[in-house]
């Protein structure tokens, strides 16, 4: 999911004060440690994503928000 879509869904759910407080590149070597990135998906990424883009196949974000106090 794209960051803007995540933020938009949070707004629609009723969150306020939404902030992305950290963004980090998540490269193919990081992805190897994550269960969702199966061996076959890693292989597809290595074959289809240009080498110079493989350091960031996703972004790890930290998102903060809160509910209104009512």
């Amino acid at each position: 999911m794209a960051e803007r879509a995540f933020v938009e869904k949070m707004k629609r759910a009723g969150f306020t004060g939404i902030e992305i407080v950290q963004r980090d590149a998540f490269g193919v070597d990081d992805a190897r440690l994550h269960p969702l990135f199966t061996a076959d998906l890693i292989e597809v990424i290595r074959k289809t994503v240009p080498t110079d883009k493989q350091h960031q196949v996703a972004t790890s974000v930290v998102i903060k928000a809160h509910l209104a106090t009512g």
Binding site: L33, V44, V49, V57, S60, V62, K64, L67
Partner: protein
């Protein structure tokens, strides 16, 4: 019966299979994401199955006595750090849909000497908690696994008390940067 256009069951099966078969990476993920002082008080068993994607707890202003909900607690690393911070007057509700992950969290909490971690088996799209019952939601690399993210986020706002806080780490992707072969992979659908 409503047709499941999201292929929700298939995606959940894929996630279940991926996480059920996970093997320890030693503590590579834990030491990449957390400082040594943050890991103090976290048993090795929880460190060795850390599956997160970031360190949101650096930004989560957890107060003593709060009720924290950890969505997708996994082997428990974030639940345990949060339990230390909220203290004995607070509690951590560690939610996961995989019983084997909940067993790991419960075991690690016991090993850490924490009695304020309560494991809950359930789905983040239908959180088995009452309305307005949680002060703070944390989660690490899990909400992206929900086939119905809008529903999951609505559940978060339902269980949070007014003024409640939400601090999560997760993946985002820029679809324009990834080729169709990656975007159409089943794992990418789950994410």
């Amino acid at each position: 019966m409503t047709k499941d256009l999201m292929h929700s069951a298939e995606l959940k099966d894929l996630v279940r299979e991926a996480y059920s078969s996970v093997v320890s990476d030693g503590d590579a993920t834990a030491t990449r994401l957390y400082a040594e002082d943050e890991l103090a008080g976290v048993p090795r068993s929880a460190r060795e199955f850390a599956l997160g994607v970031g360190n949101h707890l650096r930004y989560a202003d957890i107060q003593l006595g709060e009720t924290i909900l950890d969505i997708g607690c996994g082997a428990g690393i974030d639940s345990i750090i949060a339990a230390h911070r909220t203290g004995p007057a607070g509690r951590v509700l560690a939610l996961d849909f995989l019983p084997e992950m909940l067993e790991r969290t419960a075991s690690a909490a016991a090993e850490a000497g924490l009695d304020n971690v309560e494991t809950i088996e359930g789905d983040m799209e239908a959180i088995p908690l009452p309305d307005d019952s949680v002060d703070h939601i944390i989660s690490n690399g899990v909400i992206n696994l929900s086939p119905r993210k809008t529903r999951t986020l609505a559940e978060c706002t339902r269980v949070l008390r007014p003024g409640g806080r939400f601090c999560v780490s997760d993946f985002t992707i820029d679809e324009e940067d990834l080729p169709p072969e990656v975007l159409t992979h089943p794992a990418a659908w789950a994410g």
